[in-house]
């Protein structure tokens, strides 16, 4: 087999006097740049009684800023030929633009302006409250399997408010949010020292650092907030709960297992990441073969690490999730038994010849492919810098994955015991 080519990226670090960390990743092959700002605050940090606030606040960051009226942010990005978005994660919130490279300074200005002072008014808050409620209706309330399992599994798997609450938020909590709450949240968490700015693509390093100093250096230094330890002990006995879905035509189940600390025990995490691929990636995987193809128990089954399928996106605590849809509502126990049986087989007998090699090759290929779009790469550099402290880790991942030993996979499988998991059953209330 030919070798898998290792990615090589030029990465330049810079820190401003106000504490803003900067990562630059030049690549001049296409006239395109990515600009991303990540703030070290996500759903876990929102206060009790304010579920969904981190996400609502993300919306408010697009509503105008120090020198921009409402709607101007969108218009300046798009009339430059670019696209924009933002998203709220458990441990951070990102804002980004994909732009032709002649809009580099404009992109930096737009991000600096809202890092300085977003325009948070009662009118904008009321409008974005309506928009967010409609986002929740379309993605959760009016959709079969909406919010499954990411909203409904954490309260079974975790105990603390931070780890278990609904990150989209309850309507009552969202409706009680005030302009003062938003101002406090901004003052506390959106300090330059609590953020990473990443710029990738068609750029000159010295020129870009000068532009960044020009636009961001005058933003006042504020203390970086203390990040609490969100860790909690793993489960010691199986927990079960169910969730009634009024639109779903067939039942589903989600199994949640805690995984090693993604930052402080990366090797342990990588074994779980590879195990998830062994279990459900493709038609040759263990659970597809057993539950879909042989036993005809489930319509589909999928295993992944990280709340939204990205194992490197969050700090401790994190989870591996296995979800399956199954046509026969009476077959949950059979689904669990067959799953446990296959996991046991890996724990007892290890892997088949060549199994780890092919699964690892595919995973490396997936990781490389995700780095093709400049904006994805820009976001990845920022994420690894923020969550793991090192943007360079992206280039090291293939090597680290290659070093995971054959024995590490059964050892990881041995931890996926019924007494260490949460089981969420989705009860189908929809018409067939």
């Amino acid at each position: 087999m030919p070798k898998i080519p290792a990615p090589s990226f030029e990465i330049v670090h810079h820190t401003l006097d106000n504490g803003l960390r900067v990562v630059l990743a030049p690549d001049r092959t296409a006239p395109v740049i990515g600009v991303a700002v990540l703030y070290d605050v996500g759903m876990r940090s929102e206060p009790e009684g304010r579920t969904g606030f981190a996400h609502l606040f993300e919306h408010l960051m697009f509503q105008g800023s120090a020198h921009l009226e409402k709607l101007e942010h969108f218009r300046y990005v798009q009339s430059s030929g670019g696209t924009f978005n933002g998203s709220t994660h458990v441990d951070y919130t990102n804002y980004f633009e994909s732009l032709p490279s002649n809009a580099l300074e404009r992109g930096l200005f737009l991000e600096a302006d809202r890092m300085r002072s977003p325009r948070i008014t009662a009118e904008n808050l009321a409008n974005q409250l309506d928009v967010v409620k409609n986002e929740i209706r379309v993605n959760v309330m009016n959709r079969p399997y909406g919010g499954f399992p990411w909203i409904y599994l954490p309260p079974v798997l975790f105990d603390s408010f931070a780890n278990s609450h609904n990150g989209y938020g309850g309507f009552e909590d969202l409706e009680s949010a005030t302009v003062e709450d938003a101002a406090d949240f901004f003052a506390r968490y959106y300090a330059p020292a609590n953020a990473v700015l990443s710029v990738g693509g068609d750029l000159d390093v010295d020129e870009t650092i000068a532009l960044i100093e020009r636009h961001f250096a005058a933003i006042a230094n504020r203390p970086k907030p203390e990040r609490p330890d969100f860790g909690e002990p793993p489960l010691t006995s199986e927990r079960r709960a169910d969730h009634e879905d009024p639109h779903a035509p067939i039942p589903a189940v989600a199994l949640g297992y805690r995984v090693p600390d993604p930052v402080n025990d990366l090797d342990g995490l990588l074994a779980h990441v590879l195990l998830a691929e062994v279990l459900t990636d493709g038609d040759a995987s263990r659970l597809q073969r057993r539950l879909v193809q042989r036993d005809h128990l489930v319509t589909d089954i999928s295993a992944y690490c990280g709340e939204f399928g990205d194992p490197f996106d969050e700090r401790d605590p994190s989870a591996m999730t296995i979800t399956a849809h199954y046509p026969d509502a009476g077959s949950l126990d059979a689904v669990l038994r067959a799953t446990d049986d296959e996991i046991d087989r890996i724990a007892q007998d290890g892997l088949e010849r060549g199994e780890l090699e092919r699964v690892r090759t595919r995973l490396l290929s997936v990781l490389l492919r995700e780095l093709d779009p400049v904006i994805s790469r820009t976001l990845e550099f920022a994420k690894f810098e923020l969550v793991h402290g090192r943007a360079e880790m992206i280039a090291e991942l293939p090597g680290l994955l290659t070093e995971v030993s054959e024995d590490a996979i059964p050892a990881a499988a041995a931890l996926l015991r019924p007494d260490r998991r949460a089981v969420l059953e989705l009860v189908a209330g929809g018409n067939r």
């Binding site: 070798k3 921009l68 580099l104 009321a126």
Partner: protein, 440 residues
């Protein structure tokens, strides 16, 4: 030091590099297009095989062909084939619509040849084994059940029927009972008659040498031969606007609005102006429709308006999910914005904004391997290619305010659309009926 307080101007744009490319229609009739894009060591594949049919039973057979195709071929059983694909760091998937069968894949660039050899086995020796077929038939029925539990799917299906009537384009998804009645022998026959290289296009994009990849592809797929059956397809009818259709989905907290009309193809001289008119109306975030019903009124998470290109004709399609209690007002604003752009000229600022957005987003979407491969495969169905991408910015640059006004007047008039709303009829039927006639 004080920071700038005004929005910086754009600097001079840098031109994209010209891409190395090779193209050949090989002896079997397959057209191969290979493009080199330096960067990550991955190659993207898009194989597009014409798959139109006027037969009522065809969608079910096509859907099953697509879900069973990769479950074993030649000496490979299902798991063996999947393991071999995985070992190349690759993935293959199959999808089908009323126009084409598509095999989509990606692979480590230095293992491309291996994947092409496997693809040849799949195309020439797919097994359709009875047990795998039965498994996939049951799964397909479950997938259809799940798809049709979504409000948006119900609305899209109702709209397609309303626009296309008895034409095959009216049915994108097969019926579950037709799937359940389909046999392996029927699907093998479809494979034999239709999965053939003449008229098919294979696009490969990535860190590859194009001329060598075209040669490799010709060798690897040499055994895939034969002419495809060419069924007669009725012409696409011109959709006739009917009263707004309300489909009841009790207790829905939102209503799914779908509207559609016929549009023009990419090669029509009116197309660039219509593309820009659509963007001003609802085709990007800074559009009138989004700024009105999302950013001003908060009725929705987001409306979308787009031009879809099908082999037999292009369409202009609108979709939005709105809160149940504002369904009437949201439709009022939608008709208002359509009527406004069809009746009054856009502003110079609006035109410049969409022009730059259209040029920039084309460049962005074709700056990735996957985006370029998908775009080239889609264009190839219309005998268009990289030249079209290269020349389109100049066409957009020439569009005037009058051109946009004409295109909008002709194609965005609210009277021209077929419309469907799926939601809680007891709450939305009355508010919708005050705006015009409705059917339930």
């Amino acid at each position: 030091m004080s920071a700038p307080t005004t929005v910086p101007a754009l600097t001079a744009p840098r031109r994209a590099r010209k891409l190395g490319t090779a193209e050949r229609t090989v002896g079997t009739g397959l057209k191969v297009i290979a493009i080199r894009k330096p960067g990550v060591p991955i190659a993207e594949l898009r194989l597009r095989i014409p798959f139109q049919s006027a037969a009522a039973t065809f969608p079910a057979k096509a859907a099953l062909l697509s879900s069973v195709l990769l479950t074993g071929a030649g000496s490979y059983d299902r798991a063996g084939l999947a393991a071999a694909i995985q070992a190349f760091g690759a993935d293959l998937s199959v999808s089908v619509d009323a126009d084409r069968l598509a095999i989509t894949g990606n692979v480590l660039a230095n293992r491309l040849r291996g994947l092409l050899d496997l693809l040849a086995v799949v195309l020439t020796e797919a097994g359709y084994a009875a047990d795998e077929f039965a498994t996939e038939r049951d799964r397909e029925v479950e997938r259809l059940t799940i798809a049709r539990s979504r409000s948006g799917t119900i609305a899209s299906e109702a709209l397609a029927e309303r626009m296309w009537g008895a034409h095959p384009y009216a049915h994108d998804l097969p019926q579950a009972d037709a799937v359940a009645a389909t046999t392996p022998a029927q699907v093998r026959t479809v494979h034999r008659d239709r999965v053939r290289p003449d008229g098919a296009v294979l696009v490969i994009v990535g860190d590859i040498s194009p001329a060598r990849v075209v040669d490799q592809t010709e060798q690897a797929l040499a055994a895939w031969t034969g002419d495809a059956a060419k069924p007669r397809i009725p012409k696409l009818p011109v959709p006739q606007p009917l009263p707004l259709l309300v489909v009841d989905r009790p207790d829905s907290v939102q209503s799914s609005v779908r509207m559609g009309t016929d549009a023009v193809t990419r090669t029509d001289p009116r197309y660039p102006a219509l593309q820009l008119a659509n963007l001003v109306f609802g085709g990007y975030f800074s559009s009138r429709w989004t700024e009105n019903i999302r950013e001003d009124k908060g009725y929705t998470y987001g409306p979308h308006s787009r031009i879809d290109h099908h082999v037999l004709g292009s369409t202009l399609m609108l979709d939005v999910e709105v809160a149940t209690e504002v369904t009437g007002p949201a439709m009022l604003e939608t008709f208002y914005e359509l009527g406004r752009i069809a009746s009054l000229p856009v502003t110079p600022t609006e035109l410049e904004s969409v022009r730059q957005y259209a040029i920039g987003s084309l460049a962005l979407s074709t700056s990735t391997n996957a985006g370029l491969a998908s775009t080239i495969a889609a264009l190839a169905a219309f005998d268009l290619g990289l030249d079209w991408i290269r020349e389109h910015p100049a066409r957009l640059a020439r569009v005037t305010i009058d051109d946009v006004a004409e295109a909008a007047h002709e194609f965005l008039a609210p009277s021209r659309f077929s419309s469907v709303v799926v939601g809680d009829a007891k709450q939305i039927a009355d508010p919708l009926s005050v705006l015009g006639p409705i059917e339930q």
